[in-house]
């Protein structure tokens, strides 16, 4: 009987069983080129997991989200290891800049977002915790990123997202450079996304990639390069 690999992988992640997830991926890869694992297995599974997470489905916790990010990292590490022999590398979606806003020292969510974005083909420039507005925008300009992802856990630090908005506007990059925001406070109080000048947010870390895709598309529409897709 054919194995249902996506279902098996989803179950392994939901049970926070990283080793079993690796075994399922190994089994899937027998007779298949490993560089297809992201589009054909990992991404669809993470999409389902992200939807379950966003609606708070039973059994999905921060820990299982963490395990999902570790599974994504494991796959990426193996892809990098095998890149010399792979039949074709995954095309890049382009650069993005991530960081925790000024005064925020809660890195877990940001690191999970970075793992999921990398697994989905983004070039992630991760600036770490306590990142100033100037550092965010400097790195975006330096790398040509069309989107910044700013993470904040609490209301008191989330207010510093407004500083990034001001810096983007001050440099005349509004529209060209999009600002995604995330973190517990934005999930609890989604109205803060607009209040602090964010251009969008995602309900879970797994859903960051579609968010960035839409923001980058919006940026391209803004500067008239929407037809020149990067992937």
């Amino acid at each position: 009987m054919d194995r249902n690999y996506p279902q098996e992988l989803l179950k392994a992640i939901e049970q926070a069983d990283r080793a079993r997830a690796a075994a399922v991926i190994d089994a899937w890869a027998i007779g298949r080129p490993f560089d297809r694992v992201v589009p054909e297995l990992l991404s669809p599974v993470l999409e389902t997991f992200g939807k379950n997470w966003a609606v708070g489905l039973g059994g999905v916790s921060l820990a299982t989200g963490y395990v999902a990010s570790k599974v994504a990292e494991d796959v990426l590490a193996r892809l990098l290891l095998e890149s010399d022999t792979a039949s074709g590398a995954q095309p890049s979606r382009g650069p993005v800049v991530l960081g925790n806003v000024e005064d925020d020292f809660h890195p877990l969510g940001r690191k999970m977002v970075a793992a999921f974005l990398r697994a989905d083909g983004w070039i992630v420039h991760d600036l770490g915790v306590d990142v100033s507005a100037e550092q965010f925008v400097d790195k975006a300009v330096e790398t040509g990123a069309r989107a910044i992802g700013a993470s904040a856990m609490m209301f008191t630090t989330a207010k510093n997202v407004a500083k990034i908005r001001s810096e983007i506007d001050r440099r005349g990059l509004n529209g060209r450079l999009q600002l995604a925001v995330g973190g517990a406070v934005f999930k609890l109080r989604p109205e803060l996304v607009a209040e602090f000048g964010g251009d969008g947010t995602a309900a879970s870390a797994v859903e960051a990639s579609p968010l960035f895709e839409s923001l980058v598309q919006r940026s391209r529409v803004f500067d008239g390069t929407a037809g020149a897709a990067s992937r």
Binding site: S61, L62, L108, K111
Partner: protein
């Protein structure tokens, strides 16, 4: 009735002159006294003056030792960062893995300056309000200590992938937790206000909670010589109450602002006190009449339940919260009880 009698009435399911209430106003004391936050979070007498000002201004029925959990991380060697109009927070961890944390010396409950600061606030407040106002010491469960010392990621990594190391660290931290809790009681605390986020299914898997964290929590709480208020710590709690029910010494549960007090009672059954559900950190955005509406909503949810304490949930009340919003809570409980403000 005085505040202590009011709280005892709630615990014993007896009538009271008005509903008891709690303000998580640890930071806000500095606003009332005008003290610098550096003094507020380093000098016990200055902090205690802030709580006394809270008591004099708003008449809450419980007072708290500093809701300053990062201080426990500092006691293990983590570095705190100061921020204007906010409590200090962990800005650098003392170690990077659970294995490294196992090698750190345990802070001396009777000698570490940061722990002595926390304890001295309890001593001052307990002496000032003996027989009148219950004083609660703020503490976290043994499993909630590592995120303050190695970060949440490193702790999740151990809990999920190296359970023997996680168990060893819990075994090491539990005596420290018990010693600090006992010390707070000996300092005069009426009870402890405890968060145990890592055992919450919102954070961790059921398997890890059941095998490691809940047994540890049960053991640790059983060692304490007094009552404990179990605080949701920012996580949803009502759906988890079945797992946390009947924990040793736990007499009350503080639920999240987004949760229903009636649902909490139905989940718990008769016995423990239910506390909540005003959004403490969110009061800064509200007008007094909106705060009054939230109080009325809470009273409607609790119905005839006498084992209820109106409380701000979530994080500390923010520094910039208009005092009129806190006064609105006082007015609402007095109006409900038919007593003068």
């Amino acid at each position: 009735m005085n505040s202590l009698e009011r709280i005892l009435a709630a615990l014993q399911n007896q009538p009271a002159d008005r509903p008891a209430f709690l303000l998580n106003a640890s930071l806000y004391g500095a606003r009332l006294t005008g003290a610098s936050l550096e003094d507020h979070y380093n000098q016990a007498a200055v902090y205690a003056e802030g709580q006394m000002a809270i008591r004099e201004t708003f008449s809450p029925d419980l007072l708290l030792s500093p809701f300053f959990i990062p201080a426990l991380g500092e006691a293990f060697g983590s570095r705190l960062g100061t921020r204007p109009r906010q409590a200090p927070n962990v800005a650098g961890f003392a170690a990077s893995t659970a294995e490294e944390m196992l090698q750190l010396p345990l802070p001396d409950v009777d000698g570490h300056p940061r722990l002595l600061y926390l304890r001295e606030t309890i001593r001052i407040l307990a002496k000032t309000y003996a027989g009148q106002v219950p004083i609660f010491g703020a503490l976290v469960s043994p499993a909630d200590l590592p995120p303050l010392v190695i970060g949440l990621e490193a702790w999740l990594d151990a809990l999920l992938f190296r359970p023997a190391v996680a168990q060893a660290l819990l075994d090491r931290l539990t005596p420290f937790f018990v010693a600090l809790g006992k010390a707070m009681f000996s300092d005069g605390a009426t009870g402890l206000a405890l968060t145990a986020n890592l055992a919450n299914g919102f954070i961790i898997t059921e398997a890890v909670a059941d095998s490691l964290l809940l047994p540890n929590l049960r053991t640790a709480l059983a060692e304490l010589p007094g009552p404990v208020v179990f605080h949701h710590g920012g996580c949803p709690l009502v759906d988890q109450l079945a797992r946390f029910q009947d924990l040793p010494n736990v007499v009350a549960y503080v639920i999240d602002a987004h949760e229903d007090l009636g649902a909490a009672r139905r989940a718990l059954g008769p016995g423990p006190v239910v506390m909540g559900n005003l959004d403490g950190a969110g009061l800064v955005h509200l007008r007094p009449e909106e705060v009054d509406h939230l109080c009325e909503r809470a009273f409607a949810q609790r119905g005839a339940d006498r084992q209820f304490i109106l409380a701000t949930s979530g994080a500390d009340i923010q520094f910039d919260t208009p005092p009129e919003c806190l006064a609105a809570i006082t007015e609402a409980v007095c109006r409900t009880g038919g007593v003068e403000t």
